[in-house]
Symmetry: C2
Subunit: 786 residues, 2 copies
């Protein structure tokens, strides 16, 4: 068949592809005899056969053809693959192009290296079967499916010359995240962003079932992608020669179309949303693999999804099929007697930095430019008398973030992300500097929408998280604000990102990337109006389970501490930073210098609030803005009710300060912990989240038995702010009572206090039922110095 | 304009709609003066204005028109709404049709009732603003967006006569779960399942932004839904009279089309996937609300999304607009002097059980038929010598589940759900009885796919979870199996379901529904081959945070205990049951009668495995199958190393047994706990998940300081099964060493043991590096009786 490839080109491309397939099969099956220099025996075969062959020949096919485009156009391409367990193909290709050996010099480009390459794959202390951090050129593991396309879109933001071909598996395409992520094309500026080239790889099967998109009518499939706003191209076939010509042809067309779109947009300064091209590539599952095994069809069926031959070690028939299969790639034509890839074939790969295995964006830390940060002290609120001024902490932060945006407009390496909640979380000041990204239709009433906008808003936590991950992994910075309860939607994406960071840190060639910064606002205590479904502080627990050297959790008690924490987080690398802070009006407790000191300690006694003189009867501890407020109010109640009681107020900003030092690097040593919390005095602890987290972190502290934690105990509804604390026994009255009950010095006031505080809580309940808002004595309460 | 409605019908429908809108606005704003019998004053207005008006007139519009269809055809319809905070509309309509008052008799259908109806809305101790359990006719809260369409599809499974019109908000449509859920139509059998009528309600805005689907070209939108496999109808407009005629017309068409599809399929016995109709309804945001406020356009813009007038209490101008707005619905024409809805208008609603507020499926517990369960003892494995037989626990369970399926085929009230993992989790025996649901194209090589299949498989945890929730909430039973790590994908959906159950339990009229049963297999310890991304046991922690009377967590140590636990869970109601069990070959420890006893206790000493004679030197505790295996192996090591050591083996099946009784109803009382774990002896605890969970549950037990927990500490990769335990210090050698180190009686062996066990771990490491599999002494280890 005629096509753009000369006979010689076609032959070389096919040979290159065969080499990649050979190396892929070798990785899955062989631990020895990599060049088949002797007949294959049981001893050459790995004891466990891992990796998915089904998707791999297709991934290899795309790789070699992208190489041709890169060569012909010196294109800047990073290759993302969604299909799970597809690493054999990427490892094979980066080995062939030489980038693998540059990063892992012990995997030489010869027989020994090939043997090691095969053996290490899915081998203990070797490399995983996914496109994990260990794999050159990867930013998207694909172990958990669904995020490849989001990573691709995140990567091309602000990278106008980058093209990211992204293979979406037809299994992965069924996931929620992936189904929504096709709409990312409405958030791409063709002038200033790069291009994603989605390649839907239809090979028909997932682990045990056909895929939905492979089994709908072709006209439905085409409609679907037109509906998503793409111009779909379709390529289907199984004859390699024919497919090489047609793939070369369609990739020429797709590349030209991307160039045409970008040229038009850039020359005419016309960012109107183009219909970006995408490719539907339909090839057989396990293409080039065994056609029939044990009388059952394999190639092109679900049986080829994982390992087409499973009993190679024990079934001589299978071993023979494997040998024939490997020989079908004609390794002698591909590798010389030393096992080195033949020069004339290696030569068709791109050279140097153009190789996809070392595309600079795929190791984004190399490109990381620190943010230019405004002095956060300039945004400080002067508290006057502590607690006398009410501000929205996140609104104050919004002013700071506006200027972070401003200072980094030139380098274009900072974006904010929110699921339709940026303004709701009070970060709207940024719009004075940059709008919200939008390349769909505009109406005259729209505000702050712009194709140049650097605030990414869409009603999907998945999209925000995925774009941000792609943006960070390619060496930029970001800030994600979200309602606290709904961040659970991306629990699993967070897991995968935290795991990526942990593994990447262990690889010397992976350079550190900017931290993933979460601001959770509209939090559990102030979702009183939105009701129970909006009340969930469990993300802290979720984060706390991850590797200690990867995660940080901050609960700044007021606006000034929030500023200090945010500045710190934006400077950090290779962490996930979780910040929780309210958006409603709330007291400012510390002046800026005290705030900075407090945040750099992470935990500390507020001597100005207590009266313990170094020897408290009770420690009133708190973490989080509402818990701090209730604790401070409890302290004033204690003054009235038990003036003789010596109270220490301890505030925790950095939650991991509570953990033992061997559990988390931020943990207080025993001495400091005991100095702060005493070894024998009652500690009444008001905590933002579920109380058990505090117990989990402090269970082996000397004074643990005396720590009484109050926090969210899953009681909520539509009610008032103060009632939320009452429902969960974290209100000032309960805290004060707890102090009185547990302190020897105040115990004589216990019965009185119990009766009185119970009356107040009753009165509160009647008042809110009657008036629909909090009692003035609670709503207008102000801290007074002693 | 001509149409199906006579002038009189049109007038009544419009009046009914105005009444619903009036009541909706009243709920949002008024706490008094419900009939506007005197001029509106500040005192009539609620202090906090909650609920979203933007979506509500559209929801009401659809409701009144669905009523007409129900009346005309005696249709069996349940109304699901996705848009957030849409409850005012549903409450208004159920009040008008009378179902609200039947369920809440204090909300009478007169002036007083209306006042209470208004006042209670979003009022402390009142009702939430979402379509929460409190709202009649609801099974889908919509507080967290994205699940309405899945609930709708789950509801119509096996309910051939049920039609579920489901309003999808255009904000919600951007979420991952919703974007994927349109494909649910490939899993519906037109003969035996009912019909979902999706209504995409395009009113253009979410909280602070336009919506994507409202801002793409109409031809893209149409393509998108054709691509999803629907036949889209579009209705757009804002003139009420015109819209009433056209809505009546299009609903007549849609209803006829559903009838035609079902009649064809049922008469011809032809389940070929039809192109189900769906409606795109484009109406202004805040339709019928204020057009302009403070000189800015409101109706039809994002300003109408929540509360179009925010300063009603403080801005007399706003108060006037509100009053005029309320009067625009002409309440005098709608309600008589007593505030009772006028008879001739009320009359157009359906009667009795046809009313959507009391559709029997929306309170599914009413329909719940207990499962017919086979005797689980019939599937017992005879263990012979404990631990001598290796079986796949989930495979054994699969036999039982096959017969659960078989016994309930006639009642069609049991389905299994899995994200492409049913067979991978070894539950494939069910296919002998029922295949996998599939109404897309079939190929000759397909196996076990059938349009009648009762196993729901799709590569989306969101879809599985959402369908199952819909199925359970409408009174049926289900079983969800999933890889342990990836269940986090639906963390947030689990949250919302657990919250639903908790709130529904507090409503006497909501009847209990079947529990949501999770089986997590392919768990952290046996994902050695799949690598780090597949290794995460954190879902236990996530579940443990929920309300104690709603959640249960089971870690059966072997096949027989798994059978017993599964039987128990399938009989239970109103819980979420989490079961974690391995699929790989593993020992059977208990004969069936011991298993039943052990499971009914939930925790217990295995006297046959220990030698403590009632007074142990050390307690070796374990929870989970792999931890049990390692503990048993550690016990045999101890026998050799410290024969004099008196060892007690405690196994935990029911994790909440560890919690204090005031924390969880299953918790052991102090006496029993102390009897089992002693008050002063070391406890070496091997736990399936993160070790901190055990500390969190036991921190205030007397012996807590002596409990040393080993579990997953976020160390993983592609390796061998035993190496996973070594990496995380939960291997038999580490457990045995910990016992020796902490027991006074064995302490003299400490140095020896340290050296020797460290050597073994080294040898292990070398062995797996060399051979790629576990040492035979580990892999072939068998328990031997003392």
């Amino acid at each position: 068949m005629a096509g753009p490839l000369s006979d010689e080109e076609l032959a070389k491309i096919d040979a290159y592809w065969r080499a990649a397939n050979y190396l892929s099969v070798g990785q899955i099956y062989l631990k020895d005899n990599p060049l088949l220099e002797r007949p294959l025996t049981r001893e050459d075969i790995k004891p466990r056969l891992l990796g998915h062959f089904g998707t791999t020949p297709g991934l290899n096919f795309i790789y070699v053809h992208l190489n041709r485009i890169i060569r012909n156009h010196r294109a800047n391409m990073m290759y993302l693959i969604g299909p799970g367990h597809g690493a054999p193909g990427i490892i094979a290709n980066t080995f062939l192009e030489g980038s693998y050996t540059e990063l892992y010099p012990n995997i030489e480009r010869n027989r020994d290296g090939m043997k090691r390459l095969f053996r290490q794959f899915s081998w203990p202390y070797g490399v995983p079967s996914h496109d994990a951090p260990e794999v050159p050129g990867s930013i998207s593991e694909g172990g958990e499916l669904g995020y490849s396309l989001l990573h691709a879109y995140g990567a091309v933001l602000d990278n106008p010359d980058l093209i990211v071909p992204c293979v979406v598996g037809d299994g992965e395409a069924e996931t929620g995240a992936l189904a929504a992520s096709w709409h990312s094309n409405k958030f791409i500026n063709p002038i200033t962003d790069g291009a994603v080239l989605p390649i839907l790889h239809l090979n028909g099967y997932k682990i045990a079932n056909p895929t939905v998109l492979a089994r709908i009518d072709p006209d439905e499939l085409e409609s679907l992608f037109k509906g998503y706003g793409y111009k779909p191209y379709v390529l289907e076939g199984d004859d390699p020669k024919d497919m090489h010509q047609r793939m070369a042809e369609v990739l020429d067309t797709l590349y030209a179309e991307i160039q045409r779109i970008q040229r038009h947009a850039r020359e005419k300064n016309d960012p109107t949303r183009p219909r970006w091209p995408m490719l539907v590539l339909r090839t057989p599952k396990g293409w080039t693999g065994p056609k029939v095994v044990d009388g059952k069809p394999v190639e092109g069926t679900w049986r080829a999804h994982q390992v087409p031959l499973e009993e190679v070690r024990d079934n001589p028939e299978h071993l023979k099929i494997l040998e024939a299969w490997l020989h079908s790639y004609r390794p002698r034509e591909l590798f010389d007697a030393n096992g080195t890839f033949r020069e004339e074939l290696a030569d068709i790969a791109p050279k140097g930095r153009l190789r996809m295995g070392v595309n600079v964006h795929s190791n984004g830390g190399q490109l990381l430019v620190p943010l230019v940060l405004p002095g956060f002290r300039d945004y400080a609120i002067d508290p006057g008398v502590p607690g006398s001024k009410q501000v929205s902490a996140t609104r104050v932060l919004g002013g700071y973030l506006r200027d972070v945006m401003r200072h980094n407009l030139a380098t274009k390496n900072f974006r904010m992300f929110a699921p339709d909640e940026n303004a709701s979380n009070r970060l709207q000041d940024v719009y004075a500097v940059s709008g919200k990204s939008w390349d769909a239709k505009l109406e005259p009433t729209d505000e702050n929408l712009s194709v140049d906008g650097r605030v990414m808003e869409v009603l999907s936590e998945h999209l925000c998280q995925g774009w941000l991950e792609g943006y960070l992994l390619t060496g930029r910075h970001g800030f994600f604000s979200c309602y606290e309860a709904f961040i659970h939607i991306i629990d699993s994406m967070f897991n995968q990102h935290a795991k990526w960071i942990k593994s990447a840190k262990e690889l010397p060639w992976r350079k550190p990337i900017a931290s993933l910064n979460y601001l959770l606002s509209s939090h559990v205590w102030r979702q009183d109006h939105n009701g129970f479904s909006h009340q969930d502080p469990g993300f802290i627990d979720h984060v706390a389970n991850k590797k200690a050297d990867t995660v940080r959790i901050y609960l700044p008690p007021d606006a000034n501490t929030l500023l200090s924490v945010a500045d710190h987080c934006l400077r950090s690398k290779n962490y996930v930073n979780l910040i929780i802070a309210g958006k409603q009006l709330a007291p400012v407790w510390l002046d800026m210098e005290s705030a900075v000191r407090h945040c750099s300690e992470g935990i500390g006694a507020w001597d100005w609030a207590g009266n313990d003189d170094g020897d408290p009867d009770v420690v009133m501890a708190c973490a989080g803005d509402v818990p701090t407020l209730e604790t401070m109010a409890a302290v004033t109640l204690l003054r009235a009710w038990a003036p003789e009681l010596k109270v220490r107020v301890v505030n925790v900003v950095d939650v991991f300060k509570l953990a033992p030092v061997h559990v988390h690097p931020h943990g207080l040593n025993e001495e400091d912990f005991n100095r702060l919390f005493t070894t024998d005095k009652p500690v009444v602890f008001a905590f933002h989240g579920y109380p058990t987290l505090v117990h989990k972190l402090t269970y082996n502290r000397a004074n643990h038995a005396n720590i009484h934690v109050h926090g969210f105990k899953e009681e909520g509804t539509t009610t008032t702010p103060f009632d939320m604390t009452v429902l969960n026994d974290m209100d000032r009255f309960t805290l004060a009572l707890s102090a009185i009950q547990h302190s020897k010095a105040a115990r004589h006031r216990r019965d009185d206090a119990e009766q009185r505080f119970s009356e107040v809580r009753q009165r509160h309940k009647l008042y809110v039922s009657e008036h629909g808002e909090d009692m003035p004595e609670v709503a207008n309460w102000k801290w007074t110095a002693r």
